[in-house]
Symmetry: C2
Subunit: 696 residues, 2 copies
Amino acid sequence: MRDLTPLLRPRSIAMIGASSDPNRGNGRAFRYLIEGGFKGPVYPINPKRPEVQGHRCWSSILELPQSVDLVILALPAEMVADSLRDCVSAGVKAAVVFASGYAETGPAGALAQDELTKIAKAGGLLLLGPNSLGAYDARSRSYMTFSSMFEEGYATGGRIGMVTQSGGWGSQARRVAVERGLSIVQWVSVGNECDVDTAEVLHSMALDTDIDVILLYLEGVKDGRKLLTALEAARCANKVVATIKVGRTLKGREAAASHTAALTGEDEVFDEVCRAFGVHRADSIEELLDVAYAAQIAKDHNRLPADNTAVILTPSGGFGVHMTDQSVLQGLSLPAPDPHAQQQLTALFPSAILHNPVDLTGQVLNQIPDFGNALQILLESETYQGAQVFVGIAGSAPALRERWYDALRQVAKKIPNKWLGLSIMAPADVITRYEAAGFTVFEDTSRLIRAHAALVRANRAFRRTTIEPQTFDVTLPAGRFTETGAKTLLRSIGIGSPREALCKDAQHAAAFARTLGKPVVVKVVSAQIPHKTEVGGVVLGLSQPQEVIRAVEGLQARVNEHRPDAVVEGYLVAEMIDEGMDCLLGLRHDPDYGPVIVFGAGGVMTEWLRDFSMRLAPIDSDSARNMINETKISAALQGWRGSAPLDLPALVDAICCISHLGSVLGDCDIEINPLRVLPEGRGVLALDALITKASP
Amino acid sequence: MRDLTPLLRPRSIAMIGASSDPNRGNGRAFRYLIEGGFKGPVYPINPKRPEVQGHRCWSSILELPQSVDLVILALPAEMVADSLRDCVSAGVKAAVVFASGYAETGPAGALAQDELTKIAKAGGLLLLGPNSLGAYDARSRSYMTFSSMFEEGYATGGRIGMVTQSGGWGSQARRVAVERGLSIVQWVSVGNECDVDTAEVLHSMALDTDIDVILLYLEGVKDGRKLLTALEAARCANKVVATIKVGRTLKGREAAASHTAALTGEDEVFDEVCRAFGVHRADSIEELLDVAYAAQIAKDHNRLPADNTAVILTPSGGFGVHMTDQSVLQGLSLPAPDPHAQQQLTALFPSAILHNPVDLTGQVLNQIPDFGNALQILLESETYQGAQVFVGIAGSAPALRERWYDALRQVAKKIPNKWLGLSIMAPADVITRYEAAGFTVFEDTSRLIRAHAALVRANRAFRRTTIEPQTFDVTLPAGRFTETGAKTLLRSIGIGSPREALCKDAQHAAAFARTLGKPVVVKVVSAQIPHKTEVGGVVLGLSQPQEVIRAVEGLQARVNEHRPDAVVEGYLVAEMIDEGMDCLLGLRHDPDYGPVIVFGAGGVMTEWLRDFSMRLAPIDSDSARNMINETKISAALQGWRGSAPLDLPALVDAICCISHLGSVLGDCDIEINPLRVLPEGRGVLALDALITKASP
């Protein structure tokens, strides 16, 4: 990833196409540079004018008295390429292109855009756009946009960065943020991403020590691996990332495709990306900014929740119950107070209900300092890493306001590092004081809890260790696209299969079946027939030699009929396995994000039940256990109606093992279906397996 | 249901326990009556004082110069019962009891509460409470509460009613509503519901022609049938009902149980209640009030959406895509504009993207009146019953504000009845003018869309016809608790079973099996063994007479061993059915809400897959089809991997038919598991069925 400083924090700016009307388009953009107080020289360039808005104007970038870091190209599309070449000649390091009319309009526009990319790459110039609404950095006061976003004042500080693939969306979201008192220190509209892209900007923000929180609006991801690299940088730097990514629905993906040149990948995989890096995926600007707000306070005060434990403290039973529901649904853990804390609380509030929620009852209004003491008692114990304090309307009485504040501020002073959430009705200035004391304040408890849970997940991701891919001392076997080839690979990494043999003809098959001494299954093996059931290529439950012979003859006939082109390697004769349960286990190369491990219901259920979980690979055994638990079949795997529980440890090992296969498989996918999970202690068996070329 | 007018809109009030300090508890409550301007006489009663807050005080309810409609009992719990008896003697029609210390504290409190119930019932008095925060009605100006909720002013009007099982929650929600500009005309804290309960208040609001929207906070439902009656009254009167019901999670239900005396029923069934009556179940006060706000505007302007169609109109591609996702997730339908509309739109905006979302592009800013024209064109077509208009930040420029308003107001004038949603950034007074014109305005598009969808569901419920329960000319058969009895009942209503016979012993069983001419299953039949598999009471796949004999002998042995007490009626011998797929179909008596029809995955999958849908019974065939489609097994029922599709029409008939069985079953449940759905045209068969006593 490149250093984007010349683009995002330039020391000097030229603007080609600066115009006179300070209230319209390019004239407004020029005004923002001057009026906004950019900390460096600004050169308007316009061959038609001697001056622009009272500033001496230059006729060409090549004429400037110095070489500038950045040029804003405020020109029609047809003039951009030539001008960009001049910039390269003049040693310009970065350029912003406002013009639209490129890849978003069709093939001709895409060609014109490719030309810009070539010029930028060849000239070593960082190019933002085209079709970009611009960017700003509040520290360098580089307000580079033709939108009207600074009419109500310039951005001045803050620790939040925002990257957006839609300028319109980004302008609106920034405005809503400002109205909520959130400051965006750096804002980048990436436009068509012909050179600098979302991942690169995200990476730059991840390394920017002034930025704590990064907000992303995504419509499509051009280079998923690059995005993963940027997200990993953000994770390692403990930056809270929240995103809105459209395309949750098919209709949404279609709309995105008609709106930009970007395509959107499979949506579920993006959810796994978010999980892996602790990114909060929001459904609305409000939710996105809720997380940004909570993250900012938690980072400022070093109060990111260390785990998902929380105590709910309230004077209202009703709210306690409601908050309990929301906390559980958001994945928070609500253990009861420990006996020592209970004892102390009872001394303060004899009628309190000391489960979790801790309901101190309306008695609180007569004992406001004790409410603070109760909170302190609870947070002093190791049981909780966070608190959700409900005061609500009780905080609104002017007579009690300062007493509440004193009581709660004391707790914040005495309890460092733990997360403090507060729902209270109070004037804005009082809220500000709570925030300065370290409280995250929401009037709405559901939003409070959602933001708390988002920080728990972010911090969990910050703390996890990176899982290094294992390298295997195995290679893809010959005949890898057949069942026998796939099983050879699996056996070499410790995943067994039933006793079986590849037989040349019916006689051999019958002879081998006899040696097994139990019913067998016979399957045709051919690289041209990956899906055997589609040609009737599997026959089950054969006990007698004569049955085996007839089965092989039947397979031959059906293959001749349906797939006369197929080269048959032979007939796989395998013992029937009666016990256990079938699953699916696979490693799939997602075109955007690389290897993804998939686990779920196997056999015929795979198709209609769609009961599966996935993760970016590789994973560790904790993640493998979580994957199993997320599926519905997990209940069956643990044994039901008194049936024996199955060998979950072996299944966990198999999932982890397959998740590390990426380096071996290269551009191939593997699917084991069914993977038979045997009763406890007896392992797993690949009953069938398939290696296929990954789709491009 | 009783007429609650004397309680909710009294003409005269006495307050026993009125006290002097106008800023504390009972003194404040008295002040609210006087200062709030109650439209009738108010009598303070306190034997210790000649006057209260300047008003002549009476020593007893029996001394008053007139009989009053309502008495507020602001007394400690131990004095309430005697005082209530006096009220009955004095001919009082309604009473409000503030005191706590009743059922919520344990068995002794419950006894004291029962006494209040008896006095009220015997005296024909409407009793609200105990443990109630009170109630108010803004029309009669009866502000009857000891909370401090009117310190910022009295409620004066509005068309929203609120019923709450938690006074604390209700106070807070009301306050938030007021701050959002929503007026609650009637507010009732039902407390412990020892007499007047939530359902009765809801019913009263349903019949109140001044109330259009009803908000409910529920922790538990004491009488589910009564609640259904009240909800049906609200539905028939086209009142939009929205609720928060806690207890979505087990932990939430536990917290609710420790907070109030109320128990909460099975949560999924409550979701079905909401579906049946078009009630919106919200997860936060914010969401609840969003729906109330949208409902109020839609009702005021006669713009409840007639169906779920919507057009998204935007100048920003990014927002269009995001809104598409949210609309689809909320169940809205986004058809493309019809060709005629497309033609007209292209004439106005040649570069517009005319799918749905309709993206008119940034060009809109130069053609604001045409944006209105475009909206009008879209809403004049039959394609859409609602519009989601995004203007966003573009609406905030002071210079353009009036032009946006003119353009959009014109559309509202010309297009009656259709739902108009708007996301715009503008000052509060401008928003108010949009609302007056008929627009529902949210800055956040996700909240806009959620509220829209809530109104679609409400109006769908208003329009549906009530499904009358069918009466069957059948009775519960003798031996109804056995498989054969259950199947007899099913056959009598047209649901068949395999060819089978109840055989007395092994010889008979073998003889009958021979007549079937195909493999059979043999099952033990005994009223004492409802779950046959638990004793190994089912043997499958018997082809030879000798196998049948051995199977029956084996059954006898196992029953003798495991259930020596069981009276065995015989052995059911049935043909094996090879084709089709197994489901579960049942009718279950929910203790709160009555008969519930359940459909889902059958056989062993029933337990671990938990793949089912339910509805309040009876239902029509549309609902039955929706039930099937909600399950994962529906994909399998429609045929997968080229297997034949199954007989869905017969399954739909069976679901409807069973859903009407409530009257026949009385206090029994029925479960058909498996119900085998055969290939198309061949119907369904009950392979096993069971009638059980409903749990109390």
